[in-house]
Each structure stands twice: as C-alpha cells, then as structure tokens.
Symmetry: none
Subunit: 218 residues, 4 copies
C-alpha cells in the first residue's frame, strides 16, 4: 500500500530504496500475521529480494520489526508533542490528526495492537518501549484538559485507555469488524465518522457541561 511511493520526498532519484520497500512490505505482513506468523522469506520475496539480501539492510527479523514499529510510531509521538506545545489547544485537532495518520499507515495500528496484545516478558518489554512514550505524552496532554476535575485520579488511566481502544482499535480491527458490519471502516467517510464520534464522546467525557452532570452516575 505505502509501497507504491517509495521515494516520497528527498532528492533520492532512481535508487531502489530497498530498505524502504522492505519496511513497507514488512509493515503490511507483520500487521496482518503478527511477528511470529510472518516469514522473513515472504517479506523478502514480496519486496523482490532474496531472503539473504534482506540481511544487508536489517540485522535480523526482530530488528526489522523494531524498525517498522519505530518508523510508524515516531509521527505519533510528534503529533502528541505538538499538542503539548499548544497551550490549552483543542484536543479535537489532535484526535483528527492522529486518526488521519493512522488512516494513511494502514498496518501501524494493527502492529501496535499486536504488540499490546502479546504477553510474556519479552513482549512486555517491547510494549513498554513504544507505548510508554506514547502514554506519557497522552497523559500529559490529558492533564491539561480543564474539565478533568470530574474524574477521580484512579479513573484517569481508564480515560487514557479509552482513547487508545477507540482510536487504535478502530483501525486495527477495521478489516474484521468492517466486514462484519458491512462497512469499509477504512474509507475516508468512515474514518471521518469515527473521528467525529470520538470527538463527540470526548466532549461527553471531558466537555464543559459534562462537569455539571457529575454525581448522577456514581
């Protein structure tokens, strides 16, 4: 998917940009089949390479996987960082921007969910490595919300996770759930709708007048 534009920016001319091609294919396959379910050989073949050649670009399968996640996760950090710089800026833009990014990198959300899903010490370490910076930033951004007072401290993690689930979950499961519901959840329209939905929900959770309603529910 992403692979059709192997040299989006920069002066790189006719160079094959093999590494990027590999990353594109790997993102797609890792997202679809998970780490264990993806064969290095398949990645190489789809990238038009001999498996051995792949090792000229990445030290091993794990390093390739890391590179894929890293490449996909970095822009997310950037987005969240930008929110933090705005003073009291509107979350709304952040959500939309994040969803736009995930919409453009179809495998990324799946990859992250795969990571978060995996247990075991090894996986936990990996999850911490990429999710931690994300959560730190998201947590800081959330802390700036004016209407946060209505939530008790122990509810804050749950709020954070809610965003995680609704945003990453949407894209990660777009394939299966979309077919189930008869909708193409990755279409611009559907993404737009989900964006507005999350924003609406966000308002009801953190919005100004939400404050007034506090206490009824507990």
């Amino acid at each position: 998917m992403n692979a059709s534009t192997p040299h989006p920016t920069g002066p790189a001319r006719s160079e094959p940009r093999t590494a990027d091609r590999i990353l594109d294919v790997a993102e797609e396959l890792f997202a679809e089949r998970g780490f264990a379910g993806t064969a290095v050989r398949d990645i190489a073949t789809r990238a038009g390479l001999n498996p051995a050649s792949l090792y000229n670009h990445f030290e091993n399968k794990q390093a390739l996987y890391d590179a894929v996640v890293e490449r996909g996760v970095r822009p997310i950090y950037a987005i969240l960082d930008r929110i933090l710089l705005d003073d009291g800026g509107p979350d709304r833009d952040a959500i939309a921007e994040l969803m736009a990014h995930l919409s453009a990198a179809p495998g990324l959300a799946r990859l992250i969910q795969h990571e978060a899903l995996a247990g075991g010490e090894h996986a936990l370490r990996l999850a911490g490595r990429w999710l931690e910076p994300m959560y730190a930033r998201a947590s800081a951004a959330l802390a700036k919300s004016p209407a946060l007072g209505q939530w008790e401290p122990h509810e804050l993690p749950l709020l954070l996770m809610t965003y995680h689930h609704l945003i990453f979950g949407h894209f990660a499961m777009a394939g299966a759930l979309g077919e189930l519901l008869g909708v193409d959840l990755l279409s611009p329209d559907a993404v737009e709708r989900q964006t507005r939905f999350v924003e609406k929900l966000s308002e009801r959770l953190l919005g100004a007048d939400a404050d007034a309603r506090r206490g009824d529910s507990a």
Copy 2:
C-alpha cells in the same frame, strides 16, 4: 481421531479430563502468543503430555484453536441471549456479567482480539464465524435501548464497536497497559472500576438525560 466430542456422555467424574486440560493450557498459550507463535509441543508439555498424545484429542493445531475459542465464546453468546430475553432490562447487568466472565477466563478476550486483529481471507472467515453471532446479539440488544434515537443509523456500528473496544480491549491489553500504567488491570478492584466506567460511559451515550443534550454536540 475425532476429538470434537471427547466425552460424549456421562457426567464428568474426578478424572483429569485430558482434553479439558489441553484446552486450558492452549487458551493460555494462544492468548499469550497468538496462533502462529504457539508451539503444539509447548501446549502438550504444559498439559503433561507427549505432543503425539495431543492428536488423540484434537485433529490438529487449528482444530484445537477453534475448540478453545468456541468454548470461550459460547458463554458470551449465552449472556447476550439472556439480555435479549429481558424486556427492556438494564444493560448495566449485562456489562457487569460480561466483564465478570471475561475476568474469569483470562485468555479469552486476548484470543478474540487476536482473531479480530488477524487479516487475510482465512482469518476473516474465522473472525466472522465467532464475532458475527456476538455482534448480531449485541446489535439486537442495543436496538432495545430507549434512548437510541439520538444516534443516527450510521453511528450504531460505532456504538457497538465502542463496547467491543472498551470491554474486550481492556482485558486483552491488561498485561501490557497495566504494567505501563502501574496498575493490575485484572484485579477485582480494577475490573470493578472499569465496569463502572463503562457503565458511566454507557449512560452518557445512551442514558435518558443524554437525550436532552443532543444537538449541542453535533
């Protein structure tokens, strides 16, 4: 050979019930490592068996996996069915009951998320096989909500998915996110909190007075 009916009749005595032991172990490992990442040998060994013996109870790895999911998913259908029988009964109980079930079957939510995450035609078919009955029931249950009028038709799938994400996502990612947030998300306390959180959110989305607030947000 055939293992789908390992103990056709007779009430389970005190026997070890090898097939069930295998299912337990398999649920745990599949949940943790996914289908591809789980070695049949590991399942067998942890169940105290020679790998070959496992094939006396299940035809192959895939059949074992299916049996695990099937076993875990059936009670969920039952819970949702019970809601449908209540006339206008409170969803609140349904959510609590569902979360209690998932809390007791530690691997199940992860398994389902693995399923939903996987792409490819094969996986989609499997996802449809188990998620479809769940969504059909959930959809019917949702349709009985009195305050549904405030949502447009195309938003209903998003509502459904929201529940999916918040409920299954919570348990599925409890390991990784819990460590990240410094909370044991599977502790009774945490489950209780998440239950109340989802209920609260449910109220704000579908609750009576939520109706009155409609229009402000759009």
Copy 3:
C-alpha cells in the same frame, strides 16, 4: 474383493472372522501401496477396527504382511506341486490354472512383484523365502518339458523368468498398463487372452516343432 466371502469353507458360522477381514484389507492395501506406503491405521480402519485391536490378531505390521503373502502364495505352491505329480502333463493347464488363481486374488501378483522389486538385505531374505519354493517347483516342472533340449543350460533361468514376468507382471501392472492401453486387463476376456498368449508363446519356446527350428536363431 476377497472379503465378500469371509467363510468359504468350514463350519464357521456368524463369527466375524476378524483376522480374515484384516488379511483381505491388508492384501488390497499392501498391493496398492507397498509395505512402507501402507499405514497400519488404514488397514485397521478399513477393516472396521481400532488400530490397537489389530494387534490382537497379528503380532506386528511385518507379521501381518507375511501372513498376507503366505496366504496368497500357498495355493501357487499347490498348483505347481500338482503339475509335478502329473507325468509329462500339459503345462497348458498349469498356466491357465495359475492365471485363474491370480485373477481371483487381485493383490497377490502385485504383492509378489513388490517383494521381488525391493532390494536391500531384508527384502532379499523375504524374496528368497517365498520366491524360492516357487522357483524350485517351477524349475522342476520345466525340467520335465520334452523339448527343453533346444535351450542351453544357462538359458533355463531366463526361461523361468520369462514365465514369471509374463504371468505375474501381467496382473501386477494390469492397473497402470491397462489404463495406458485402454483395456481392462483384469476382465475375464483379457485374462483369457493373456492366457492363450502365454500358451502360444510357450509353444514357440518349448513346443515340439520348435525343436526343428533350433540353430537358425542362435
């Protein structure tokens, strides 16, 4: 095939005659797939048994195989023995009788050819065990032929082998060659033809006037 008449002689009544059923199935499968290619489980299943039960009747796979060959080969010995008792009796009947027997025991010829085909010490010993008595008798029968004088001593083995090839080969390869030639080589008609053909050839090799022609060809 042979299994349709499980109690040909003797007072055995409604007894299942399991051992015979096993032998019938085994003959069929061993003939079709050879020793190594045949799974004990398949034999048992086709005989309506659990593989374990088979071991109540035969000590192991090899013993079963031996029993199959033994059962099939014994009548052949008998036929050849009968020829030896006749003084100067016509080979013609022997050939016809032998071919009739093989025609009725469809797997036997294949089995014997499998045996003869297999190399290795193990197989050679087996081949010797069953083929040797056959060849001893056939050799003795051949020695009684009046027109044998036209063949030199070292050609006698070749004559023997010729009969072997033409008789056993015919039935053993009836499947493949028959399909190739568009003929059902096992049909009564075809067997009749091959019988006459072998007899004709036999005449030209051993017949009375063949004697007169000796010398031209050498």
Copy 4:
C-alpha cells in the same frame, strides 16, 4: 525455491553439481525402497547434505522423485525415437541399446516398475505421464514390423507388454531373482544373454518364418 532448472546455462564444469549428486542418490534409494520407503533425510545424508539443503534444489520429495524419473526416462524416449526414424531398421539394435541403457542406469528399471506397480488414482496419473510416451513410441515402432500380420489386433498390446515385462522386469528384479537363481543378472555377460534371449524370442514372435507357422498354434 525453484529447482527444476538448477543450472540454466553454462557447460557443467568440474563442480560437484549438488543437484545431480542428489539425483544420483535419490535414484538409487527410490529404486531400492520405493517412494514411501525412502526418507528424504537418507537421500540428503548420502549426498553429503543437510536435509534442509536438499530443498534448495528440489521443491519437495515428490518433485525430486519426478525429476529422477524424468531424467532416467528421457533417454529411453530418445532411443525409441531413433528407431522410429530408421526405415524398417532392425529392432534388434533397439533392444540391445535399450538394455545397455538400463544396464548403465541401475535404478531406472526398478523405478519404472515401482511406478507401474503402484495403484490408486494418483499413481495412475503418474504412470500415464511417463509410461504413455514410452508406449506410444514403442507401439509405433512395433507397427513397422513386417511380420505383424500374424497377430490379431487385440494381441498387439500383449506383445508390447511382453517386451516391457522382459526388458524392464529383468533389470528391476535382477537383485532378488539373481540371488534366487545364483546368477548376477546385472553382469555384462548376463545382460548380453538376456539381450540375445529377448532377440531370439522376438524373432520367434515377429520373425519372418514365424509367419509360416501361423495357424498351427491357434
């Protein structure tokens, strides 16, 4: 991955030519033990390879087997083709040439007999694949024989099969029958004898004066 063209161009140098070495060993073992009875591991080991390496040259066991048969069968086609080009040329040379070829390729005849022996749909298809071209050619060659008139049409297949049995059968069973008869049937002497024997028999079946004798025997 693809191994059907392991050395597309270039004249074979002094390289060990792994693929050929594998083919040699495989021919030997398949001939001796049949397809099912031969372990890939044994082939690899005898060829001085790790079993996994074998898969760099042949896609799987069946493909290797096919390659072995193909390699051995091609020259036979060539021999038969050459006969067809000669106008009325002497079969005698054909028989001698064929027997010389089989004498040099020790496993080939056994392999072909294994093929012809195997039943089942799968095997029949394979048998057709290799035997059919052979029989087509042999049939055409036979049709050129001047003294064919003495045989009725339905006897022609039997004539063909006679050659098959006497030629391939001889080499295929040289091991077992040779030991039985106390002769080394593969020795140059023995092959020479069998060649002359088949030629003599061929004369008596198709020779000029055989024509004169027609009628007596029917």
